[in-house]
């Protein structure tokens, strides 16, 4: 996971870049980063999946947690640059019902 470029944090919008494999190791870091952005006042959180090939069950749970945290803070979540396989998974598990999913 790479932290967002400061230029991407403006007007209450933050971008967090997910790594190539969203699992237990990287998931905790992403969740912490997202919570930090929301605590800082971000109202639209964009998680960039352009480099992400696989999201496993731990990854799904973490993303649902991010959505929950954002919803409680009145923020919205966008999953951008999501590959076809992951987008299908998000649809199947209901993730896309709670966050905007933008395929790549």
């Amino acid at each position: 996971m790479e932290s967002a470029n400061p230029s991407d944090i403006n007007q209450g919008k933050a971008v967090v870049l997910a790594g190539d494999y969203l699992n237990k190791l990287t998931g905790d870091l992403i969740e912490r980063e997202c919570r930090k952005r929301i605590d800082e006042g971000c109202r639209q959180l964009v998680v960039d999946f352009s480099r992400t090939e696989i999201v496993n069950s731990v990854g799904i749970s973490i993303l649902l947690g991010v959505i929950d945290t954002a919803a409680n803070a009145g923020a919205t979540v966008v999953f951008s640059e999501v590959n076809e396989h992951t987008a299908e998974l998000f649809d199947m598990l209901g993730v896309s019902r709670h966050a905007l999913v933008n395929p790549n």
């Binding site: 749970s61 199947m92 598990l93 709670h98």
Partner: protein, 421 residues
């Protein structure tokens, strides 16, 4: 790829990961935290928690929790009826709506409602409730299907096994701790008994009062100086304390004779090593060589000792240690027919008899221990307490010891006292 196939692959991936997680050596907290992630992520469940059941306190204690709200109780008390129902239910997920009749649900009804719980899965492993999984609705908003329930049940079994393993480990640790305490108490009792015996032996001989205790302490010093393991050092001390236990059967008038005893009396006295062995042998000592030390502490390397006239390598090593400690104490304390000898003379005697009566490296160990104290290398004044300040401050004692040690064997034998534990 069809949705059902995609779902199947995703779910099986989660099950495989869960199996790995439970089998690997992560911390319990970490395992449960990841397990919860895997349950939530496999079926797209927004929030949930895993609790461990304490059968002592009759309560569920939350181990991992995600999104259930800050006011969700971290400990949930159960009553007998709850426990009975959970056991009867097994691992089958229970709908919260249907389970509301249970006392447990009635107590925590408000908390469960606020958290929007949908399912609760009692973790029942080998007819024992070990924990529970709490789940809210799926992110899709759809009700849990029978397929979902089967997956949850399978995952619950994995988590239950992890919790049961943890409980077993905690129980083993508790028992091990209990055993350790019992063992320590037994050791203390044993040590106290040995000291009481030593005092009883010493009481019989008014001229050599404190001899067994001193020999025990010299043995301890020598064994430590020889680099023995801490338990072997303890064993050496015990061997010293008990080496003269056989004297309990020797007539007091022979032991206390204020003259050189005659041959007949000497023969009677010389039976004490064998008698000591017979007394000590039936006792289960933590250190197996204690009876041998009593039996052979009057043997000499040159074969001129008693009772069996053994030679060097035939003599148990611990008996050689006791032999030196015993002789050293005899030389450095007043006897009915002889005053104690000055330090220089004692050292000279020990050196002269090194290789004949005494093992050279054991003599060196005793000298090293004394020299360290004389030169101030060690703060603990053990020799001063045993021999008296005046004796230890005799002129040139340090240089005599240094001289005796130059050219002395430096071999440090190890592992020469066998222990039972």
């Amino acid at each position: 790829m069809s949705e059902s196939k995609h779902k199947l692959i995703h779910t099986f991936g989660a099950l495989a990961e869960l199996g790995n997680e439970v089998a690997n050596k992560s911390s319990f907290q970490e395992t449960i935290k990841t397990s919860l992630h895997l349950v939530l992520g496999s079926l797209g469940i927004m929030r949930g928690g895993v609790a461990r059941y304490s059968r002592f306190n009759h309560e569920f204690n939350m181990v991992a929790i995600r999104g259930l709200g800050e006011d969700f109780p971290l400990s949930l008390s159960l009553c007998y009826e709850d426990e009975r129902q959970f056991l009867a239910n097994g691992l089958e997920p229970m709908e919260i709506e249907q389970a509301k009749v249970l006392p447990f649900f009635q107590v925590y009804d408000k908390s469960f409602e606020r958290a929007k719980l949908a399912l609760m899965v009692p973790l029942v492993i080998r007819d024992e409730t070990v924990g529970a999984v709490f789940l809210v609705q799926k992110a899709t908003g759809e009700p849990y299907s029978s397929y979902d329930r089967e997956i949850i049940c399978a995952m619950g079994r994995h988590i239950g096994v992890a919790v049961a393993q943890r409980n077993l480990l905690a129980e083993l640790e508790r028992r091990a701790d209990e055993n350790r305490k019992l063992y320590d108490e037994m050791r203390t009792t044993y040590a106290d008994t040995v000291k009481a015996f030593a005092a009883a032996i010493d009481r019989k001989d008014k001229y050599t009062e404190g001899h067994s205790v001193r020999v025990g302490k010299y043995c301890e010093i020598i064994a430590a100086e020889l680099g023995w393991h801490v338990e072997e050092v303890e064993g050496a001390a015990v061997a010293g304390y008990l080496h003269d236990v056989g004297k309990l059967t020797v007539e007091r008038r022979i032991i206390n004779a204020p003259y050189r005893i005659n041959a007949k009396e000497s023969a009677e006295l010389n039976k004490h090593p064998g008698v000591g062995y017979e007394i000590l042998m039936p006792i289960h000592h933590p250190y197996t060589d204690v009876p041998l030390a009593a039996k052979y502490h009057h043997e000499r390397l040159d074969g001129r000792g008693y009772p069996d006239g053994l030679y060097d390598r035939e003599i148990p090593y611990i008996a050689k240690v006791v032999n030196l400690a015993d002789s050293f104490d005899a030389m450095t304390t007043d006897r009915p027919y002889k005053r104690r000898r000055p330090a220089g003379e004692v050292f000279e005697d020990l050196q002269r008899n090194s290789g004949k009566q005494f093992a050279p490296e054991i003599v060196s160990a005793l000298f090293r221990g004394m020299l360290q104290e004389v030169s101030g290398e060690v703060a603990d004044k053990k020799f001063r307490r045993l021999l008296g300040r005046e004796y230890m401050e005799a002129e040139n004692i340090g240089s005599i010891l240094q001289g005796a040690l130059s050219g002395a064997p430096t071999i440090t034998p190890i592992n020469l006292m066998s222990t039972d534990n």
